[in-house]
């Protein structure tokens, strides 16, 4: 199998390949020559390039790599080509099995205006529609009322959204929004939606083959900055049993209506005890490990079985969620402004705590390339209760050492200590109201800064001279402590 991705998700997929006796093969760009994912593949080929479009988005190079390596399957991971129907089609033409939904399903899910229409036959959607000119935009905004949000029809993942509060702003933003959509997603189609202020963001993980659809419960993803998730947890602290039943049933009905197969996530906005369909993510998600932690299902394994026609091996009645799981996304970012901050990691040490899973592709001495996203590690904590999972995450974060670059670790520590998070009473405005630092040990910081750089040697300057063999240092990747398989039948192709 070719893993057409990089970083932690490539390593995560390789792990399931090995479990199933499939050989994971990989690709890497020129910027990723020292990346850990290469080491986890049996073979990997360089496809050149630095930017995504020169490398992990270049369909022809990837197909060529698959042919050179003699692969039969392609797993696209998340991001990059994972939700591109043309890539799925190209794989099919080339005789490669694409691990994901069909071209037809992805054409619906990738077109946000179309998936809204399909979902509206099943459930509530937020008021709005596609708009092709400014007059239409103004008329529609008048009808549904401000604030509204402008989104790209071919967009997703929280990118390129604009919140608009007046006609003036709308007129100003309309052309910009179209241009931006064209630049980022290759299509200038945009749509307008009523903007729901400070909702919660809840999504349902589904698995579907040709004959059956099951769900693996929901994930609460309301802790976001710039519409990008930072903390996810399952189960959601806000859903009643009745509401959970309703939202998961709705998710399954939407998947059925779209004739969608493979793993997918149905995203909803949730406010005042009502949910509204938002979009379908036709891929494995960054936050899938929390669902794996509470259900014991290996989602990548199920993706493979479905794509190869072997069918889902789990029945809904056998999915039994247990305990509580939380994920913190550690990004190479300034912890206050969230500005991305590539650089060299001088020390990376992961605490070995029971019930903590770490999915990462970094190591001491690794230089983070500036061409890809800033996610460097995912920490997943699992415990019997929500409060225990929070405590476990907090103590792991305190013991987690990432040195040489700033990261979102301080943000997570503050967030998990915030009364709103602890009570579960939070929404997408959580970060705006968070004060991510404390006054404790201020004198220590003052003393240390006064001693830098004369008395205390610190920072990257020595590291550049260090010769680091990335393969001998910190070879931890995914510490799998949840290995509770449902079915002991060995999966044989």
């Amino acid at each position: 199998m070719l893993i057409a991705n990089r970083g932690e998700i490539a390593i995560r997929i390789a792990r399931t390949c090995k479990k199933l006796d499939l050989k994971p093969f990989g690709i890497y760009s020129d910027a990723d020559k020292n990346s850990l994912h290469i080491k986890h593949c049996e073979k990997a080929v360089g496809i050149g390039g630095f930017t995504p479009s020169e490398s992990y988005l270049n369909m022809n190079k990837i197909i060529e790599a698959a042919n050179v390596l003699g692969c039969e399957l392609i797993h696209p991971g998340y991001g990059f080509l994972s939700e591109n129907p043309d890539f799925a089609m190209l794989c099919k033409k080339e005789g490669l099995s694409f691990i994901g939904p069909s071209y037809e399903s992805m054409s619906i899910t990738g077109d946000k205006a179309r998936s809204r229409k399909v979902a509206s036959r099943i459930t509530s959607i937020v008021d709005g529609d596609e708009i092709s000119n400014e007059t239409m935009a103004v008329d529609l905004a008048e009808e549904i009322g401000f604030p509204v949000i402008l989104k790209a029809v071919q967009g997703g993942g929280g990118r390129g959204l604009r919140i608009i509060r007046s006609f003036e702003e709308l007129k100003e933003a309309f052309a910009d929004s179209k241009n931006e959509a064209m630049m980022s997603f290759g299509s200038d189609r945009i749509y307008i939606e009523k903007y729901i202020e400070n909702p919660r963001h809840i999504e349902v993980q589904v698995l579907a083959d040709d004959s059956k659809i099951i769900h693996l419960g929901e994930r609460e993803c309301s802790v976001q900055r710039r519409h990008q998730k930072l903390i996810e947890e399952t189960p959601s602290p806000v859903l009643s049993a009745e509401m959970r039943n309703s939202i998961t049933k709705t998710a399954i009905a939407i998947v059925k209506e779209m004739k969608y197969t493979n793993a997918g996530t149905i995203e909803f906005l949730f406010k005042d005890n009502k949910f509204y369909f938002m979009e379908v993510n036709a891929r494995i998600q960054v936050e899938h490990p929390i669902t794996e932690a509470v259900t014991g299902v290996d989602i990548v394994e199920q993706q493979l079985r479905i794509a190869l026609g072997d069918g889902l091996m789990i029945k809904q009645e056998n999915v039994k969620s247990k305990g509580h799981a939380i994920e913190c996304r550690i990004n190479a970012e300034h912890p206050l402004s969230f500005v991305p901050y590539p650089g060299t990691i001088t020390n990376f040490t992961v605490p070995e705590v029971e019930g903590i899973r770490v999915d990462t592709a970094i190591y001491s001495g690794y230089s983070i390339p500036s061409f890809y996203d800033s996610l460097i590690a995912k920490i997943i904590s699992f415990a019997n209760t929500r409060l225990k999972a929070i405590e476990k995450m907090k103590s792991s974060l305190m013991q987690f050492r990432i040195t040489g670059i700033p990261s979102t670790v301080p943000f997570h520590i503050s967030a998990l200590n915030d009364a709103r998070f602890i009570s579960g009473n939070y929404d997408t405005s959580f970060i705006e109201k968070l004060r991510p630092f404390s006054s404790k040990d201020g004198e220590i910081a003052a003393a240390l800064i006064s001693l830098l750089p004369k008395r205390i040697e610190f920072l990257n300057k020595d590291v550049k001279e260090m010769t680091v063999d990335p393969w001998t240092i910190s070879r931890f990747d995914t510490i799998d402590i949840f290995n509770r398989n449902y079915n002991l039948n060995k999966w044989v192709r």
């Binding site: 206050l336 201020g442 220590i444």
Partner: protein
């Protein structure tokens, strides 16, 4: 030396191998490793110390905004790219007078749009070294002031 941490000011004096805080508490700082310090027999991890004024420090996973109390000098001559990326917007013209925190450039990097702000007021733009859409490397000069 006066140092501001988060919103509290500290008076710091270095006396021999000790650091005196607010003319009172004394701290003995021993460096064990590049990122490990023993302060009065307690272990602290220095995860990150940024450059610039103010900057951040990350100690034991907690973030501190620190500034040495010195007036922010207006001696800056240029704006450099803090990270490699692509210039997607230029919001200033040659001859413009700039004010503090005015957005000068929008730099797309790591799948995000980053706004580059002007560090102080009163300067005039002499030259813009980049064009819209251009890719830049870390440290590349984007703009020169008069």
């Amino acid at each position: 030396m006066k140092i501001k941490v988060n919103d509290t000011q500290y008076n710091i004096e270095i006396v021999g191998d000790k650091v005196r805080v607010n003319n009172d508490k004394e701290l003995i700082v021993k460096q064990m490793n590049p990122d490990e310090l023993e302060i009065n027999d307690k272990l602290f991890h220095l995860d990150f110390a940024g450059e610039g004024e103010p900057s951040i420090m990350i100690i034991n996973g907690m973030v501190y905004i620190v500034s040495k109390e010195s007036p922010i000098h207006a001696s800056f001559k240029e704006i450099k790219a803090p990270i490699a990326g692509r210039i997607v917007k230029i919001l200033v013209n040659v001859g413009n007078e700039v004010r503090k925190e005015q957005v000068l450039f929008v730099l797309e990097a790591m799948k995000m749009e980053n706004r580059l702000l002007c560090p102080a007021s009163g300067k005039k733009v002499k030259e813009i070294k980049v064009v819209k859409g251009q890719s830049v490397m870390t440290g590349e000069v984007l703009l020169i002031f008069e």
